[in-house]
Symmetry: C2
Subunit: 515 residues, 2 copies
């Protein structure tokens, strides 16, 4: 089991390729994952938490969950003491929680560059980009189907983004590559164009297996068995349904000691009750069942308590984002995850806008702030989301990634040492003076304030003379600059060759499939 302590040591033991890769890398600064020094915000009191936990056990015991088209899973559940009828699994009160107890509260996900390893759990927050959209959007080309070329650009932007700790997974869906082969190209891009940690394929169990095999080439076979090198996204088919494709991928990853986010995917009012308390009950029941199942595959397999929850516009049925109900659920689910002792995944750059405009930014900022304060440990979709997740936006990617810097600073908390107390400055300046020139300011101004790389603070006249650019226009310039500045991190040529050969061979071994 990969645990927090001494990951470097094990990396030295087994990660030869990773070490060699790191030596050749051109270095771009990546911030360390966030280690919170501020409290979590807790919206539920003890009584509310106990009601939800009791109700979730009732759901598992009386209603149960379906494991679809998966006889092996039903057998595992029966052996564990569940009541199995058809595909319905009813889990006796307390059993799911007991099984969850073997999952680690924190784990290391290794990157090929060990400086980019992340610790998932505890007080930490790891930020990963947008996942899954079939479309991309940029200010010049508008909205169009995503291609592998777009995918590579997003991986490069992620690599160049200081506040992103993780390269993510399906940063967009490369629709120009066959469905049964695109995972090879996607993983190859993450492995070669970035040296940050990444996610594996979940669209078919065999693709999860391919992901493990590619990691064995990148990290070494033994290293992968002893360490976690992928964190992948397993969605629950809410309400209360676990399909064979996602469970098949989970089974591969858990058996190989690779991490999974086990995550309900809920549009409130459609896939869960319209109430916050009811939705939290369902989320808890679903996640406990899923994580319990992962521990039946391999006790100690690393997992994350996921909650992807939005509200709905009851007139149109459209999902809505950045709403107060989603905030309450995100805060509450964080409390439930911590009481289970599990890392927590939620929030992201969620919004329903078609453009990277004010709507996109309000909804995203609402959600990012909730993510920080709700104790999220792994934030997928932390930048780049547009249009309810249908679109990866180039400009929004860098706009959001810039805001993630503000989360880092906020999470540091308030320094209270003598320098921070600044009594000398107050004495030096006195009533009516100003602080710009005082010794304390001169000593500390460089690090005192978080600074944007995108937004505009110039005087109106200067801004106007420079073309009166809005945020999207400024962001487009930053996208262009980051891609122009991009330099590929170095990699051991033997590893690079082996990866390329594996991908070429696998892609040649079967015909293209487009569904």
């Amino acid at each position: 089991m990969a645990e927090a302590e001494a990951p470097r040591k094990r990396a030295r033991g087994g990660g030869g390729a990773a070490r060699r890769a790191a030596r050749g890398a051109v270095s771009f600064e990546t911030a360390k994952y966030i280690e919170r020094n501020i409290p979590n915000f807790e919206v539920l009191n003890e009584e509310a938490l106990q009601i939800i936990e009791t109700n979730a056990e009732t759901v598992l015991e009386e209603i149960g969950v379906n494991f679809v088209n998966n006889p092996k899973a039903l057998e595992r559940w029966r052996d564990a003491g569940a009541d199995v009828t058809g595909e319905r699994v009813r889990i006796p009160r307390g059993l799911a929680r007991k099984l969850c107890a073997t999952a680690p509260s924190q784990f290391t996900q290794h990157a090929r560059n060990p400086d980019r390893n992340v610790e998932i759990g505890g007080r930490n927050l790891v930020l990963a980009p947008v996942y899954g959209p079939p479309f991309v959007h940029d200010v010049n080309g508008g909205r169009r189907y995503a291609t592998m070329e777009d995918f590579r650009k997003f991986v490069k932007l992620g690599y160049m983004s200081k506040w992103l700790h993780h390269s993510g997974g399906t940063v967009c869906e490369p629709t120009d590559v066959a469905v049964n082969k695109r995972h090879f190209d996607m993983l190859h891009a993450h492995m070669t164009l970035s040296d940050k940690p990444f996610m594996g394929s979940v669209t078919d169990p065999i693709r999860a297996q391919h992901s493990v095999e590619m990691c064995e080439i990148l990290f070494g076979k033994e290293f992968v068995q002893d360490n976690t090198v992928m964190t992948s996204l397993i969605n629950i088919n809410s309400p209360l349904t676990f399909d064979d494709v996602m469970m098949g991928a989970l089974e591969i990853y858990a058996a190989n000691n690779q991490a999974c986010i086990i995550s309900p995917f809920i549009v409130g009012g459609a896939m869960a009750p319209v109430s916050v308390a009811g939705t939290l009950t369902q989320v808890l029941a679903e996640v406990m069942a899923g994580i319990a199942y992962s521990q039946l595959i391999r006790p100690g397999a690393p997992v994350i308590f996921g909650a992807f929850v939005t509200s709905i516009d009851m007139n149109s049925g459209a999902p809505t984002f950045g709403t107060p109900e989603a905030a309450q659920i995100t805060y509450g689910a964080g409390q439930l995850a911590r009481r289970l002792g599990l890392p927590y995944r939620s929030a992201g750059s969620f919004n329903g806008s078609k453009l990277p405009d004010a709507q996109a930014a309000y909804e995203t900022a609402n959600t990012l702030n909730v993510g920080l304060l709700s104790g999220v440990n792994f934030m997928l979709h932390a930048c780049g989301w547009l249009e309810g997740g249908l679109v990866s936006s180039f400009e929004k990617f860098v706009m959001d990634a810039d805001q993630l810097g503000a989360l880092h600073k906020l999470a540091e908390g308030v320094a209270m040492d003598t320098q921070a107390q600044a009594m000398d400055a107050l004495r030096e300046v006195g009533p009516g003076g100003h602080f710009l020139g005082c010794a304390h300011t001169q000593a500390h101004f460089k690090s005192a304030f978080w600074k944007t790389d995108v937004l505009d603070y110039k005087p109106y006249e200067t801004w106007s003379e420079e073309g009166a650019r809005d945020t999207v226009t400024l962001a487009a310039a930053r996208v262009e600059k980051l891609l122009a500045d991009y330099q590929q991190p170095g990699m051991d040529p033997a590893v690079a060759e082996a990866l390329a050969a594996y991908v070429a061979e696998k892609k040649a071994s079967e015909p293209d499939a487009f569904s």
Copy 2:
């Protein structure tokens, strides 16, 4: 003293004009001020709070504050036991805090429509619009100097905005009216075009006196002496300086039992130390000195602990908004205010953008969320801010006002009654079903989710056919609609006549002054 208990009773006693006004009013829905049912977020621990409180007392005792050009104030301080040398007032440890103790922890501000009275303090949050900008901006006309016509439009928009509880004060600075006369027109607009509570003039003590006199016409003379009908903004000239103009206005208001926000105005690094802890120390010292002074004027005078604090771009010297440092200060100042037992003013729709674009929305959303969670009781600038407070934006006014609805919903907390637990819905739907048609959803969907009046949730194709409108374009349409739907609230004709006569007479009695 106006206190929370039984405001209606006193209104019945003295507010004849207000009662008559209410009867004639065309009714537009205004939400009740927010009564929080969620915790505050606290970024400082007990040790940090004690350090800041100790340091603030040291600042007051050793450094002191200046009361400029105000011999009467120096005399009051001397009588109260302070050490006065020149204009410098050094306040012995504990004295300021002791004087603050007579200020009420909560008070009622009366509106001429008693249904719109607000309770300032406790767990409440009262929302008021943008204050002070010399410019306005709209999508058609761009940026230009504000006029009285603009001012009236903003008052109408505020009256029509469901989530605004307060009409505010200088919603923009009407630059086409003489400096020494515009306060008459501004107050007259708030009093006649809206029936929500409002703010008085602070730009000269005589204008504060005029504000009181106009309120005496609107509410009745006796009513004003017994009740608070204005909450006005008194800025401290940070660092540690109290000028005679602002103090003169404070003296008028406090003597008349009218409320003042006593508020440092700080661009961090310029008017305060570059550190959060140092800034909080200065804020606390300044507010304690200001509120202590208000209580020397009239013990029990209603006041609000204010903190207007931004960070700075150290390269350009431009103030910056929606930043993590401002968030930390806002959270921390809320804790300090609560420990003093005083209502708290901070946050707002702050941003540094020139346009109501993504930058404006990120920065605003960051700040509005902080405002809610930091326990703010009175949020001035809650909608309409642009360009660091230089500009009141029509579109941003309605965009922000819409987001304020989300704060209301979030503040309600999570319902945990049997209906909210939704176990019947979970049983009815079961694994693989959907909740849209179930009985629980049908019973609750109308009130389950907060709903925007501005933002777009439509499918891409519909949105595209309708002109692919961005948030600003949608907001411009809403501005137009609200102004078209506006109907003036009724007013007793005798009061209306008396107010108009007072304004006409006063304006005719002296020549125009333009500075």
